[in-house]
Symmetry: C5
Subunit: 388 residues, 5 copies
């Protein structure tokens, strides 16, 4: 579907890839895997645009390609051999072909699929160069959509954002995932059971369904973070320890990571709504409007969580200050009562020869009483100050 | 009013609902009830769009449907049996039918009403899936409006946002509430008494009246929070305790929850103003403009409250620091006066054989005088520093 | 000027007002008067739109209506009996009638004026329901403008925002004030003296003149707050006390109240500029542009004040921390010097039988010298640390 | 160039000015001079629009008017007597007349110039009423531009913003400055030398040149503040004292003042770019675009400075906290070592008759050794905690 | 390509430059080199627009000019003598000439190139006046693009932004760098190898390629800062020292510098996308859209880093407060235990004659036991408070 010139350009990837696939040992690559904050890695500077370089970690042993072909009244699923071409795209209107690719490290495979389906080289480059921002790009005869699939790791404490890329054209949809996931399973189930509208509609409706499933999975992550927020809120209020702020900071960072995946959704779906027929049917747009609302809800809630975690710092600092105050009060009370008394005792421990008080018989009990009175006086002062 | 295909789709809910109504025990559901921060729950991932799932807590024993039919010169109220259809919609112009549904757990009922009235399945899905953001969606022959009804709970300390959904078409309005409430009672009263314009106008005016009542109820909540803010402000200034910041934090969170319900109102009413005849009459828009102003006022005031509660932290921290300073001053004054004196007493308590001072008769009174002078000197220093 | 139907609606206020005027004792009303933060009070929920309810405090014993009629060459002022109608509106072009109403508690009066002049019921509702946001609403044959008049109370420490409503039509302007004020006096003076353009121009120019006077009065308030800001800035720098932050907080709150009155001015005047002839003459717009600039200046300055008061907290906290540091230094120096010395004295105060040092004649002066040296050493250490 | 009616209005200033020029002693005026934060002063409330009132401080003894007339091949400079009219404006295209007025207290002069040149009264009002926000206003046959000239005072620690007003029409430009300044000198120099395009172009190009010179002078001020920021940054890091935060606060305030002068520049130049021929030639717009960039750069840099000064507070607080920690450590170490030892010494200083240890010969050295061991133990503990 | 008049203007630079090149010793210039925060320096006030003044530091001994001419099937590289003209521009379509200039201090050279190529004087002025904000300006027959090249200095702790200027016309691209750099090397490599589309496309595609390389180099810097952020995050959590906040502050400042270079990229590329043929081919825009995404990603990530570094302050302060609390606890525990005991010892060290306890044989062990019990009691209290 592309001009010859472009096909040649796309073909040239094989060559340039040769040196890059092993590039997994390149130092830059390593910190990319380490650093979650800056996910999108720079390509080797100066590589030609359209060069397919996989920048994420290799998450599966072997890439897997599955193909589902369905129409209103039929469905065929098959797992495809990586070496063979995908096959003919059904006529739009007569059915949809959904190709799902799991594992992006095999850049040769990606380039080959891109070439066979006539995808734009820049799109295939972005498929492999994970860490893209969610976006929708309209090419002449297909849409390129990047969304993030969010998962919780490390016992629900870390958000991992994986890139899912969708390439949608008339009669087909090719989806690329970094690792196998179960978010799309219910969609497959609905396809198999033939319930609902889905089998009678086009590839744009399938794209909507997949994005909807991904957005729903964001809500799951958000719920977990919301719960964690409420937990930490209680912890800060009731029993703040040195680790509490650390947990709050980590929660905050996860919310930031989530936020980065969620904010661009709004624009993405707005762009989707503006794509015209035949790529997106008007009847699909009503459903997209629904996802649009959900993306707003996601954003609203993320912002509320952010505000609340920010407020926790104030709560924590005030709680720490209060405890400090309590400690200081104890110290001050103890010192203020006993230091003067010790001084008095010290005075009568002096060895001067002429200290007439020492010989008086009531001096000792008198001094003791005086000490008692002074201690009680001090306590009275502190009580009046409200310290005890 | 919909095509057959869509009616079939809508009909398919019954089937898919079968398994979901009992889904109340699904773990996800439970945390949804717990978590106030993230209200909108994800559906079971991958369920077909248009599937009606109730995601809130069940707040009433049994759903209740009441129908009011009115025209300029007549009004009929009836409580409807859940099993029967609602009946014919009056001709636009000749009267309005207002159906009010309290309790959303009976998803079968919702789906049936949706089907009978020809509502879009996505709208009915959102009715049941509470926790939607306030919004207005325009379908071909009806409007779908979501607004939040705010109430104070727990002695006025918690804001609860319930979802109220309105479906408005020519000659009818169907409203869905999570629980019975009295916010709409005065509207019913006005309908019964026949005072004012309301009975002579269409369903769009009724929608405006209901939204106006809901916005007014927001002001009630806002007033209570405003009062609480002023109370806490005084508490922080006059007698800040460890719990004050906690209350401030809780207030802040309630304001955030309120804010989330209030901000989208502006867009909602803007969309309402842009809906064209025949769904919304131009004569109604003048009234909508009024609600529009009120929504701005709500937002303004929420933002002022937010700024003021943020400022309280500074006030609190400075008050805590001041008290700490006072405590430290007491400690420092006591220690600085008595520790040197104790040292002097210690010196003359030493047992050296050759301490000529010990034998001088005026040594003891001399030392006492010296101690007094040094204590007074210290006090003078502290007074000069402004500490006492 | 309105249809009969609407006049009936407007007339129905009398009835519904009957029960509401005494409503002054309604609990909600009371907190409204107390709470400055949330000024706009909710109406009794569900009252019909257009119901005239006064929501502010009653500020004058008796409402007062004055009418000024002027043309290029004549001016007539009269105080009007509340019971009589206002009289005919002059032909546009042949003169202007300015009706000024002071005191809004007499809702019957407001409704009657509204009816006589043909104002929209919603406008009259907003006149009485004080606490509206500054705004301009365009009705078919008149403009409704709400502006805030700002005054300083409590010795210049509190900003009070009163609502001034202007209803402007061809040949007339009706202004409503909560309480008598002198802001409009100079305008009256100019009208009487006949100087300047004012008498030869229409009611829109009069509206501009009044808004200009109100904006100028905002500058007076702003100047006072600016001065207070500079005062507090110096206080925070030179002699911060526990009350300083309290004053800063109060200043901040007043700035927030001011801000809420000032920000909407910009939109108001933008709307004013967009109103077309005949309601607003093009020749008036040049003057409005001037007020427009002033509203921007107000906003700029309010924001600068806000930033500066926010910065004061940092200054205060750092000053408090510094004083704390100083206190701690004194304590630490005193304790670090004398506690070891006291210990040494304690050692030679022990009563062991075999303490050979005690008998040596130079032991006592030796110990004293050692103590002196150790104290000086300590002082040296502290000086090196820069503490003294 | 104005209608007679307006000329009369303008003429009426003389009358109303009579009382206002002496108004310099009006209390409001005084605080205006004091208060830098709120520069724009309210006019005496209710004065007619177009009344020329000077609101700044009088900065020169006597106003000075200089006139430069130039064309491609000639230039004439003259200092004009205040009492005489300015003279004829050259035909557009055949040359440009630049009138520069220094000193704005002589409002009679301003009014006269305004009248002679046919400027709009509101423009002349704004010329005298200094403290306007930078802006561009388009009148029928001239542009009115307000820009701020920034200078550093008090040894570079204070930013003073003076108002420079430009009135630009075909063939002439009148500039008003509060005080004589040297920012325009190089422009005069270029005019005299005849180098560059400037003499062959119109008054719009002259306006551009003057604005460019003013923007450049902003950069000078910004550079000084940038340097001061870097100085303070180092001071906060290396040797923060009680005065450091004060300096930071003052710097922050100056940045705010600068910011207020700089932000509106962007809109000003955007408006300038939208003015159409003949007032602004298209060939001049290319140059304006350049100033436009510079205004963005100014804003960018001001914001960076603002962020950095905000960050200094954190640095300062953390440095103060660290010093506090160090002080507390010294106190705690001294107290923790010697207080227990003093207690032990105290025990053996008791006068009980039956204290068998006292008689043992090795008791004294034993106790001393024990004390030493305990002190060393304490030090070990503190070292393990990392305090020493 | 310009009119004679403009060529003369451009020619006049030589004259005005004569005095300015030595201007390197001007005091202003020096602080410009020092100050990284305010990079764009003011020209000597009042210099004519279009005057070429180099405002950066001289980074190379001698400027270097290299010229590459390429077409689909050929490529010629040559290093050009500074004194000679560049030579003819190839016909658009038949090849591209890329002139690269390293070193901007030789303003004579810049002016000469500008004149030969017919660049607008304002563009050449901006080339030399480094510290421009990234921007794109469209002249009649060429584009002027400013981008920043970011490098890390001082062991990766400082971001240096160098200005790279591109002047792009049909068939040629002239790039100006402050210092030699290797960012463009891979592009040259691709040109030489002839791989990919690059040689067959126009100068707009070359411009895209260079911008893409520069954006990629931003990612490298961002990755380094991201890594540093994660390092500091761990340091703050695990072993915060006095220097940590300093490092955080420095990191923050670098992020601000980076941010200033990155934000304007978005607008730049938006402008690029809006340039019409023939200056930018539609086929190139698809590639530009890709850079557009990358610029969004850069901004997103910079903002995340900014948020995280801001959060570190909270973490640091809470960690410092916790350590302070721990220190205070130790002090309070030691003091509270031993000060009362010392007092008791002091009492029995008094020398009163009548102290009957002294003679009782079990008094001494009794007192010791009492002391032990009281110390244990204290410890119990502290344990209950959770301090130990």
């Amino acid at each position: 579907m592309h001009s010859d010139a472009e096909r040649i350009e796309a073909g040239s990837h094989h060559t340039s890839l040769a040196g890059l696939v092993d590039g997994a040992l390149h130092p830059l690559h390593q910190l990319r895997v380490m650093g979650r904050l800056v996910r999108r890695a720079a390509k080797r500077p100066g590589t030609a645009p359209g060069t397919v370089v996989h920048t994420g970690a290799r998450r599966v042993e072997e890439a897997r390609v599955t193909v589902i072909r369905y129409a209103s009244d039929s469905i065929i699923e098959e797992s495809r051999d990586l070496a063979h071409p995908i096959g003919a795209v059904p006529d739009p209107g007569s059915g949809v072909m959904w190709v799902n690719v799991e594992g992006l490290h095999d850049v040769g495979l990606l380039a080959r699929i891109g070439e066979e389906m006539g995808f734009h080289p820049l799109a295939i480059e972005d498929v492999a160069n994970v860490g893209q921002r969610p976006k929708l790009e309209e090419y002449e005869d297909h849409l390129f959509i990047v969304v993030h699939m969010l998962r919780l790791e490390h016992g629900g404490l870390r958000v991992r954002d994986e890139q899912v890329s969708l390439l949608v054209g008339p009669g087909y949809l090719v989806s690329f995932q970094e690792a196998p996931g179960d978010v799309f399973d219910p969609v497959r189930e609905r396809l198999r059971s033939g319930k609902g509208k889905i089998r009678g509609r086009g590839s744009d409706y399938l794209a909507y369904t997949l994005i909807d499933a991904l957005v729903d999975s964001c809500f799951h992550v958000l719920e977990a973070l919301g719960e964690r927020t409420e937990q930490l809120e209680e912890e800060v209020m009731d029993r703040p320890s040195g680790d509490t702020m650390r947990s709050v900071h980590e929660l905050k960072r996860e919310i930031l990571v989530l936020r980065r995946s969620v904010w661009p959704l709004r624009d993405l779906i707005n762009s989707f709504l503006r794509v015209e027929e035949p790529l997106v049917q008007d009847s699909t747009k009503l459903f997209l409007r629904d996802v649009h609302d959900h993306s707003y809800q996601l954003i609203d809630t993320v912002e509320v969580l952010r505000d609340i975690t920010s407020g926790m710092r104030d709560l924590y600092l005030s709680s720490v200050s209060n405890r400090m105050n309590e400690i200081m009060k104890v110290l001050t009370i103890m010192a203020s009562i006993f230091i003067p008394l010790t001084f008095v005792a010290g005075v009568y421990g002096m060895n001067f020869e002429y200290m007439p008080e020492l010989e008086v018989w009531w001096a000792y009990p008198g001094v003791l009483l005086f000490m008692l009175a002074s201690a009680l006086g001090m306590l009275g002062v502190f009580r009046r100050k409200g310290w005890i």
